[in-house]
């Protein structure tokens, strides 16, 4: 991989294929919503979607019929309630059946870490006394060869494509994350390809601290400048989380028709350039 600057349309069409395994990350902060919309617009199908907290972004992709399978650890609208499209897919197979593979946060975080580290699996102290191992064959246990302690193991996450949003790229294509950095760096390092949307592209990173959370240009893929591209999530230093939208989503997504109308109006008829206005409405 090496950084290439392009449009969001080109980034998605050149990086994502039907049936791909796609990890769109961002832990509450920096969720790549604009790219999620582009994936819906391009009509991608049969995706295996990976994400610790599916959240509104995957509620939209699942409701729009892009997903065949979901790998996740917490599927709610944070602080608001359920993800109605996810629930409808799981409980009533609408718009079609959705396969799920469920983990804990610790398992997913370790699996991204293992993916970035080139390991086939992550080993951690997890799932002790918990029931998920009964229903998820991708949770196994091994023994520490020194102490005999029983440790959980899950497969490393190695997505075909990682999609993340960051504050800045410089003109070389180095990427900077600040604030709540989640598992974004790990997701990109673990993936075969990556799409990184950023708030802005700057000349250089001369004023960035030594130990900043960064990805060098030769470790990333497509870079797209999409101001506001994380809305209704936020970008520290640029705009605040649109908590009102998260609350409003509850009503929009509750009903299949109102959801479909919202997608048509805001996604199908929209484009990445719409996000800049949303940024301005939520200025930090």
């Amino acid at each position: 991989m090496v950084a290439r600057f392009m449009s969001l349309k080109e980034a998605v069409s050149s990086s994502v294929r039907h049936g791909d395994t796609v990890a769109m990350e961002g832990f509450t902060h920096l969720i790549p919503h604009a790219c999620g919309h582009e994936i819906i617009r391009q009509g991608l199908r049969d995706l295996t979607l990976i994400r610790m907290t599916p959240d509104v972004i995957y509620d939209q992709l699942i409701g729009a019929g892009c997903a065949r399978k979901l790998i996740f650890s917490w599927g709610g609208n944070p602080g608001v309630g359920s993800l109605h499209r996810l629930r409808d897919a799981v409980q009533d197979h609408w718009p079609h059946k959705l396969e799920i593979e469920e983990h804990s946060h610790a398992a997913m975080a370790n699996a991204y870490d293992a993916g970035a580290a080139g390991l086939p699996c992550a080993v951690f102290k997890g799932y002790r006394g918990a029931e998920l191992p009964r229903v998820n064959p991708n949770i196994k246990f091994i023994e520490c060869p020194f102490t005999g302690e029983r440790l959980a193991a899950v497969p490393a996450i190695r997505p075909d494509v990682a999609v993340v949003h960051a504050q800045k790229a410089n003109k070389k294509g180095d990427v900077l994350f600040e604030g709540i950095v989640g598992v974004q760096k790990e997701a990109v390092l673990a993936a075969k390809k990556s799409i990184i949307t950023v708030e802005e592209i700057v000349d250089n990173f001369d004023d960035v601290p030594f130990n900043a959370v960064m990805l060098p240009h030769w470790a990333v893929g497509a870079i797209v400048e999409v101001p506001g591209g994380a809305h209704p999530s936020y970008a520290q230093g640029y705009y605040k989380r649109d908590n009102a939208f998260y609350k409003a989503w509850d009503e929009i997504a509750k009903d299949r028709d109102s959801f479909a109308a919202w997608i048509d109006e805001n996604v199908i008829k929209g484009g990445p350039e719409d996000f800049a206005a949303r940024r301005n409405e939520n200025r930090a």
Partner: protein, 257 residues
């Protein structure tokens, strides 16, 4: 002061359980209110950690999500999510974890995954999130939950996170060395695990609550301790601080759009 709601009683009681030197893994909702109330009253130096990676955060309003920007802006330090789960939680650095549940049994095992069968659920809940490892890695666990027969059940549909398992020494049989759910704070009472059997027994009843109400709100056969305290009522200052916090929060979250 008698002018308080059952939720306020529960929140204040939970806050009082926290100490100034605790390092607390905070979930969204009631735990967040309780932890921040403790910080704004008797425990100013308490360390609050949210699983988004924010360590030692001091938000002025309650976050809607576990990753609101203010958590990071007011934190001592913000680390990646793998580091949070690996070095801080699994590494045994957290003294108290707060958990709630959709279903809870008398051994403090909790379900936040599904109602009904896992593969054909009646209700699909959000899932475990951080809870399965919070439940086993924190020094002790405070459970906070409003009582109802639907929530306090004899047998939970799915064991998302371990409490005392089947009771007695069962928790340790999973290789877990932390203490487990050391108190359950509800809108009606405080329950604590039986020293041997590890099932919850009522040890303190909130003012004005009857034993019948507790029995009515519990799906298992309630056991009362020989000596039962009356839970102290919320203080004026605690209620003022809590209500101010909620008012600031409501204003901040509705102020947008």
């Amino acid at each position: 002061m008698t002018d308080y709601t059952a939720t306020e009683m529960m929140t204040v009681t939970a806050a009082r359980a926290l100490k100034n030197d605790d390092v607390c893994f905070v979930g969204i909702g009631m735990p967040s209110a309780a932890c921040n109330l403790a910080r704004l009253t008797h425990a100013p130096d308490i360390t609050l950690i949210y699983e988004s990676g924010t360590i030692g955060t001091k938000p002025d309003v309650l976050p809607l999500s576990i990753g609101d920007g203010e958590l990071c802006e007011t934190a001592v330090n913000t680390v990646s999510v793998p580091e949070m789960f690996r070095y801080w939680l699994q590494g045994g650095k957290i003294s108290v974890g707060f958990l709630g549940a959709a279903q809870l049994d008398k051994y403090g095992n909790i379900n936040t995954t599904v109602i009904g069968d896992y593969f054909d659920p009646k209700v699909r809940l959000p899932g475990g999130g951080g809870a399965p490892e919070i439940a086993t890695s924190c020094g002790e666990i405070f459970l906070v939950m409003k009582q109802s027969k639907r929530g306090f059940v004899e047998k939970i549909d799915f064991v998302t996170s371990l409490g005392y398992g089947k009771g007695g020494d069962d928790r340790a049989s999973y290789g877990v060395t932390t203490r487990g759910p050391s108190r359950l704070i509800t809108d009606l009472c405080i329950m604590e695990p039986h020293p041997v059997g590890k099932h919850f027994i009522v040890t303190s009843i909130h003012p004005g609550v009857t034993r019948e109400q507790i029995i009515e709100g519990t799906g298992w056969e309630v056991e009362f301790a020989d000596e039962i305290a009356e839970t102290p009522t919320p203080g004026t200052n605690e209620l003022t601080v809590l209500r101010d916090l909620h008012a600031r929060t409501a204003k901040a979250h509705e102020g947008q759009q």
